[in-house]
């Protein structure tokens, strides 16, 4: 097969370009450590979240320097997130676990790399660290039904010492009651026409 000299050069340059692109991503993932969600191997029955750690979503310290947040994304709110913000400590490893009892949702913390899907039956796991106290918006960016455009929330990053281990214990209790309230609220969500 006969290939024009210019075409050969173009092919070589193209291949170099492609390898360069891949290398830059490898550097981003391996060198800088910006990854994406993977497979946790965890699956659950979306209609029976009450039997799982998502029965009582919210944040808690898993160890001294590791904070863990469970979030339920449902039509049409994040628990926590929508009715009360998700609060996490700055400069601390934070792991999110997110799942859905109904349809596919999105979980996008606007202005950050935290941008994932939430699929019924699966658990989305994402570990990250926020360097300074700040408030972020969260949006559901996957169409999830008639009230999709209203599904949003907030993530508040506070100084780690403002979330001492003791303080969280009581905050957790507060969260739990807030969650109950929000569950009721979601049942009565008014915006959706029948």
């Amino acid at each position: 097969m006969e290939i024009h000299r210019l075409e050969k050069i173009w092919i070589a340059v193209s291949l170099l370009f492609i390898v360069g692109l891949i290398a830059s991503i490898v550097y981003g993932v391996a060198g800088v450590g910006v990854g994406t969600v993977g497979d946790t191997g965890q699956q659950l029955d979306p209609s029976a979240l009450d039997d799982t750690e998502f029965a009582d979503p919210g944040g808690h310290w898993a160890s001294e320097d590791h904070y863990v947040v469970h979030v339920v994304a449902r039509q049409f709110l994040f628990q926590p997130g929508t009715q009360e913000p998700i609060t996490v400590p700055a400069n601390t490893t934070v792991t999110f676990y997110v799942t859905s009892p109904d349809v596919v949702h999105g979980f996008d913390v606007v202005g950050t790399q935290l941008n994932t899907m939430v699929i019924p039956g699966q658990v989305t796991e994402f570990t990250t660290e926020f360097d300074e106290p700040k408030t972020y918006g969260i949006v559901c960016h996957e169409y999830c039904g008639a009230g999709h455009q209203s599904m949003a929330g907030q993530l508040v990053v506070v100084p780690a010492d403002a979330m001492s281990q003791n303080a969280t214990a009581s905050a957790d209790a507060a969260n739990a009651s807030a969650v109950n309230a929000s569950t009721q609220a979601s049942i009565a969500t008014p915006e959706v026409p029948a």
Binding site: I11, I18, G38, D45, I119, G145, Q149, Q154
Partner: protein, 559 residues
């Protein structure tokens, strides 16, 4: 002799397919303008936020599935019969598959319409990706299935025509246009197998209540097995035009026939095994798998980069044939007033721009910046919405006279139409990309939230909204020009004037005899495709099926 004289029966098939395609793009365009007005808050009085999703479903289905598929089967019907110089075996079969596609389209469309008008008891506000467990009426899934299965019939017709031709020309190389059409249809059948299984095995029985639950991740993965390759099903017919007709429109001929074949084979083999790059943000799929599929995604840049070379080289070659000189001054020698030429050249330009966006989307981690934001529609309105749609409109100006025997009318409108489309899309898509970078989600009727602030560097949100709406109106004006030209040509008198175009296509500078024969043996390439598919999709699908076909499952949730 024009095409319509040589193949009157096939010409009627092509005209019918085109007519349905144009009705879809006209209607879809009107809905697009409504969406732009609603999202940006310019007008929220015509319908409700909830109806927005039925309208968006209709726009997505009409544009991405109906317009493209009908135009493509029509275009290839012309290309195959013209390049082989044989008609189809039995036009009753041909009308059968075209009828099936039409029936499917009507069913799906009426089902969607039911979500807006009260007296039709159906609904399908599930968007054109219909992720379970959101549920549509069964007629929606059935309609889409018929549309797809009908289009397979087109592939059967092309292959049968090729076999008939082969019997009479045992030693010749497959003509390039037929080669491209068959390669594209093979790709189409391979990739639609995924969505066919999703719809026929899972969603249809589930929406009928025959099975109680489906696994949302499994059905989603089957969708994306199809969902990326489908973009090549849209794109390759545009490449077919760029490779085989565009060089002639520029005044020259194709550079290399062998390389064009290599490009199509690469697409056939590589397109489907990369679908997971739409699922970078999904749980339940390993990072390793995502990484491997990202690598193959980047390699699929190669055939597109080769195409870019060929298109530009053909343009330059044509320009120099016409007396063009200089490093860049040759560009002036090109027939910019000919809408078929300018439309394709502008389509190519839009495609080059969108290529850079595509590299961002494909990056495993950079993707998180833009995933499911307005950036994504910004990107694909440049690709399928311009590179493909504008090529299709442009080549219609050249094909329609040959299909009807009538000379193109309203030539001035035709001459400005591609420029209008290009300008409209530059505005709309630029604004979409930028609000997307600020984090504004796609597929949302009211992207304003009390709790969320979107940071738009440089322009304000208000300016970007204005650009979106302005762009949408320019696009719609362009569509109206296109439809006016088509309609008035169609209604014109046959044979009143001699045609200004003919279907003759000059030989390539380097002909097919320079390519290895194995390129024409599709069995090899299909086998290789399935091997790669096994590697790419075997492990994740096997893992999901191991949990049980319907587990972890979800019951239907009507919208």
């Amino acid at each position: 002799m024009t095409y319509v004289d040589d193949f009157p029966g096939e010409a009627r098939v092509v005209r019918t397919a085109f007519a349905i395609a144009f009705a879809s793009i006209g209607l879809g365009g009107a809905l697009g303008v409504l969406q732009a007005l609603f999202r940006t808050g310019y007008s929220r009085s015509l319908f409700s936020s909830v109806d927005y999703y039925s309208i968006l479903t209709a726009h997505g289905v009409l544009m991405a599935l109906v317009f493209t598929t009908f135009f493509i089967v029509g275009l290839f019907t012309w290309g195959v019969t013209r390049s082989l110089d044989t008609g189809f075996r039995d036009l009753r079969f041909t009308w059968g598959w075209l009828g099936l596609m039409t029936l499917g389209t009507v069913l799906a469309f009426v089902t969607i319409l039911g979500g807006i008008v009260g007296f039709i008891p159906t609904h399908a506000a599930v968007l054109y990706t219909f992720y379970a467990p959101l549920e549509a009426s069964p007629t929606f899934y059935l309609g889409l299935a018929l549309l797809v299965v009908g289009s397979w019939g087109a592939g059967v017709d092309y292959v049968l025509a090729l076999l008939d031709w082969r019997a009479e020309h045992p030693d010749e190389r497959i003509p390039l246009q037929t080669f491209m059409a068959v390669a594209t249809m093979l790709l189409w059948v391979v990739c639609t197998l995924g969505v066919a299984v999703e719809v026929v095995v899972f969603l249809l029985p589930w929406s009928l209540g025959l099975i109680p639950r489906v696994d949302p991740l499994l059905t989603r993965t089957l969708f994306w097995y199809f969902g990326h390759a489908v973009v090549y099903f849209w794109l390759l017919p545009a490449y077919f035009v760029w490779y085989t007709i565009f060089p002639k429109l520029s005044g020259g001929r194709l550079f290399s026939d062998p390389l064009a074949r290599v490009v199509f084979v690469l697409f056939l083999v590589l397109s489907t095994p990369v679908g997971v790059h739409h699922q970078y943000g999904d749980p339940g799929l390993s990072q390793g798998l995502k990484f491997v599929q990202m690598t193959s995604t980047y390699f699929i840049l190669l055939p597109s980069l080769l195409t870019a070379f060929t298109v530009v080289a053909s343009m330059e070659h044509g320009a120099r044939q016409r007396g063009g000189k200089g490093l860049l001054k040759w560009l002036r020698a090109l027939p910019w007033e000919n809408p078929s030429f300018s439309g394709i050249a502008l389509a190519g330009l839009a495609f080059a721009a969108s290529g850079f966006g595509g590299m961002v989307n494909a990056g495993l981690n950079v993707n998180a910046l833009v995933h499911n934001t307005m950036w994504v529609p910004g990107h694909f309105h440049l690709t399928v919405g311009t590179a493909v749609a504008l090529t299709f409109m442009a080549i219609t100006y050249w094909l329609l006279p040959q299909l009807t025997g009538k000379r193109l009318r309203l030539r001035t409108l035709a001459a400005v139409q591609p420029y209008l489309w290009f300008v409209g899309m530059v505005f709309m898509s630029n604004a979409m990309h930028r609000v997307g970078l600020a984090g504004v989600p796609r597929r949302t009727s009211e992207p304003q939230y009390e709790q969320v602030l979107f940071n738009t560097p440089i322009a304000t949100m208000g300016e970007l909204h204005l650009q979106t709406v302005g762009g949408a109106f320019i696009l719609f004006a362009s569509l109206l020009c296109f439809l006016a030209v088509v309609l008035s040509t169609w209604l014109g008198e046959r044979g009143a004037e001699p045609l200004a175009v003919n279907g003759h296509i000059p030989e390539a500078l380097s002909g097919p005899e320079h390519s290895p024969r194995i390129l024409d043996d599709f069995r090899v390439w299909v086998a290789l495709t399935f091997l790669l598919l096994l590697i790419a999709y075997g492990p994740p699908l096997a893992a999901m099926v191991q949990n049980g076909l319907f587990a972890p499952g979800s019951a239907p949730i009507p919208v």
